[in-house]
């Protein structure tokens, strides 16, 4: 038996930098905005942002304002722009003005509140006007667009608003729907120009559209999953795009036991050993982000070989059937990673558990220590 650990998420910072550098290079002169929402997909925003800066990224998207303000107050990446667009009813507009956080505003109320904060501070609000091109979440509907833009132009002329951008989200439902959204976006931009607005950054595409449709890149592309090496386009793998998965989830075997044929395994005995076999206990469970939907034979990798999860995945642990192989306590179990060790990639893991890789990444729990590899020298 070797000493080991219980569970671990290993984040390959060199891979993250390489992914972003390559995206920055491929998209130039279009700007790359790195999405670091949800604590950088749970990889740890405080660690990931400086790495992205080192890779040439100068724009970050946090969804909510609070994490952007927190990083600003901590003095992280002061040279970069932070962009948030999911605003609450009484959000901290004064903080956004003081710390120069870019906000995507969707309504006149938000625009006025942000401008008010700038007026009081004797400063300017960094505004992106959000256009709803069909997703129906944030964004100004086309019917209200002219009034919205006119007000923004007036506030710009007053000197309290800087028109930093105009942006939209697309639904990624189908090529036809996304094309329709891009038509709405272009029309909104043209209408805005007619009303006297010009924008420094126009942006509507995120990871996949940004790669596949150069004509929809405009001035900036928001890169989420590609940066983490998890392309979300169906049929496209990370290596097809020259990207490396950043995240590896692993645990160490804490118990092996020989059991006779017929032995019930884990809650409800949903699995019974068909013959005498060896079970290995893996100390990571659904509280750590291993979906219970992994219980029907999803495979993990030990010593380069694949073994199925058997029986129910519990809150803290699951069992694998290792047959007659000499698996020992302390052996490392790879749930998913780069694939280099024969393990599933995060995309394959997501598919096997009926979801998308972003959900797998984001739901890795707080009980799993993050270990960082490839820090800059």
């Amino acid at each position: 038996m070797s000493a080991g650990y219980l569970r671990r998420a290993t984040v390959d910072l060199a891979a993250y930098r390489a992914n972003l550098s390559s995206l920055v290079e491929r998209l130039a002169p279009v700007e790359v905005l790195a999405i670091v929402k949800a604590d950088a997909y749970s990889n740890g925003i405080d660690v990931m942002v400086p790495e992205a800066v080192a890779a040439g990224v100068r724009w970050f998207g946090t969804v909510e304002l609070a994490p952007a303000l927190r990083l600003r107050r901590a003095g992280v990446a002061l040279e970069a722009s932070f962009f948030a667009w999911q605003l609450g009813p009484d959000d901290d507009y004064a903080g956004a003005v003081e710390h120069r956080v870019d906000l995507g505003v969707s309504t006149l109320e938000q625009l006025e509140a942000f401008a008010d904060a700038a007026r009081r501070a004797g400063s300017e609000a960094l505004v992106h006007l959000t256009i709803d091109t069909g997703l129906h979440r944030e964004g100004c509907l086309p019917a209200d667009w002219a009034e919205f833009v006119s007000r923004a132009v007036a506030l710009r002329d007053e000197g309290v608003v800087r028109l930093r951008g105009a942006f939209s989200h697309v639904s990624e439902t189908s090529e036809a729907d996304d094309h329709a959204a891009s038509v709405v976006f272009r029309k909104a931009l043209a209408d805005a120009e007619g009303l006297g607005a010009t924008f420094e950054k126009r942006h509507m595409s995120s990871s996949s559209a940004g790669m596949e449709h150069p004509e929809r890149r405009f001035d900036m592309v928001r890169m989420g999953s590609n940066g983490y090496g998890i392309p979300v386009t169906e049929g496209v793998t990370a290596s097809d795009r020259g990207l490396r998965p950043v995240l590896t989830l692993s645990a160490c075997v804490v118990r092996v036991k020989r059991v006779p044929a017929g032995t019930g395994v884990s809650y409800d005995y949903t699995y019974r050993a068909e013959r005498d076999t060896t079970l290995a206990l893996v100390p990571i469970g659904y509280a750590d982000g291993v979906s219970r939907r992994a219980q029907h034979g999803v495979e993990v990798t030990v010593r380069g070989r694949r073994y199925p999860i058997v029986g129910r995945v519990a809150m803290d642990q699951f069992l694998i059937d290792v047959g007659d192989d000499p698996i020992e306590v302390g052996d490392e179990v790879l749930l998913f990673g780069s694939g280099d060790g024969g393990e599933l990639t995060i995309g394959e893991w997501a598919e096997a558990t009926g979801t998308i890789p972003e959900e797998v990444s984001c739901r890795i729990g707080a009980r799993v220590p993050r270990v960082y590899l490839g820090r800059r020298a």
């Binding site: 129906h136 979440r137 639904s171 160490c252 059991v259």
Partner: protein, 362 residues
Amino acid sequence: MTQDAIITVDTAALRHNVGVLRAAVAPRAVMVVVKADAYGHGAVESAKAFVEAGADWLGVADLDEALALRRGGLTAPILAWLHAPGESFEAAAAHDITPAVSDVAQLEAAASAGVRAVHLCVDTGLSRNGAVEAEWPAFFRRAAELADRLPVEGLMSHLSNASPEEDGKQAAAFVRARGLLGDLGIDPELSHLAASAAGLSYSGTRFGLVRFGLAAYGISPFGGRTAAEWGLRPALTLSAPVTTIKRVPAGEGVSYGYLFRPERDTTIAVVPVGYADGVDRAASDRASVTIGRRTYRVRGRIAMNALVIDVGDDPVEVGDDVVLFGDPASGHQSAEDWATASGGIAYETVACLSGALTRRYL
């Protein structure tokens, strides 16, 4: 002044539940399990409430969780049963944490580290942790040899809940283990087999102590009976304010994949909570939420940081409080309802809630 989703935990409900459970199994001792950040409720604050209400023991999976409780000021006895390979138990000894050990190697390490006492963990059928029956003689013999400096305070196992018959077989095996230990002159003060489900329903599985996890949080461990039928109250409410209201014409798509296209003109509200907060994406288009006394369906795909609800023609406003789940006695959806919507179990619904969410204690 963030506008994020928030978890509100009613500590009075946690205390109430411990009272109910203590009464149900008296005069036996009660251990409340606070692993996985107290099933998403927040370990330290929840543990304090449980101890105040008379929990004799706190249970966690691993030593890191136990250490976090000690750092948080908890002084109650703590049992931890899932250990890393080669665990030295030095931290357990230093912080007065009681390990449950599953083999001779762990027993030896615990003795060398000088822990106060151990519980012996046996596998009576679940095939997870614990020594299997063939290993009991050697395991127990070594425990007896070490007993002078390492008292055996407890014997534990865990049930499969596969069926009353299977649980009965496990209880019989547990009795055999006790007998074997007795033959070696060890009579542990605390024998514990049953957790929430068996502890409430099969008195034959209750020994000196019963471990309660889910039930202590006011959530039913059974499909067929609600927590209220046991007199238990859910303590956790997940809520978030509406951030956007939008009128959508009939036939237009909503959220990623346009999974939802309303049949008639309607109003949708965006709620800033998503799968990164621990809300299962599988509940997309199936789960419901409440605003005040009214219930609304989640529509379209649940995204990383947002979901969309259909509020029809109701006068919902930005800032209105949306409850995803809470106490059904207050008209809210329950954690069990969300589990059903996502094809999972209520344990998951609460235990997978993000550690980054703000938790407020009442």
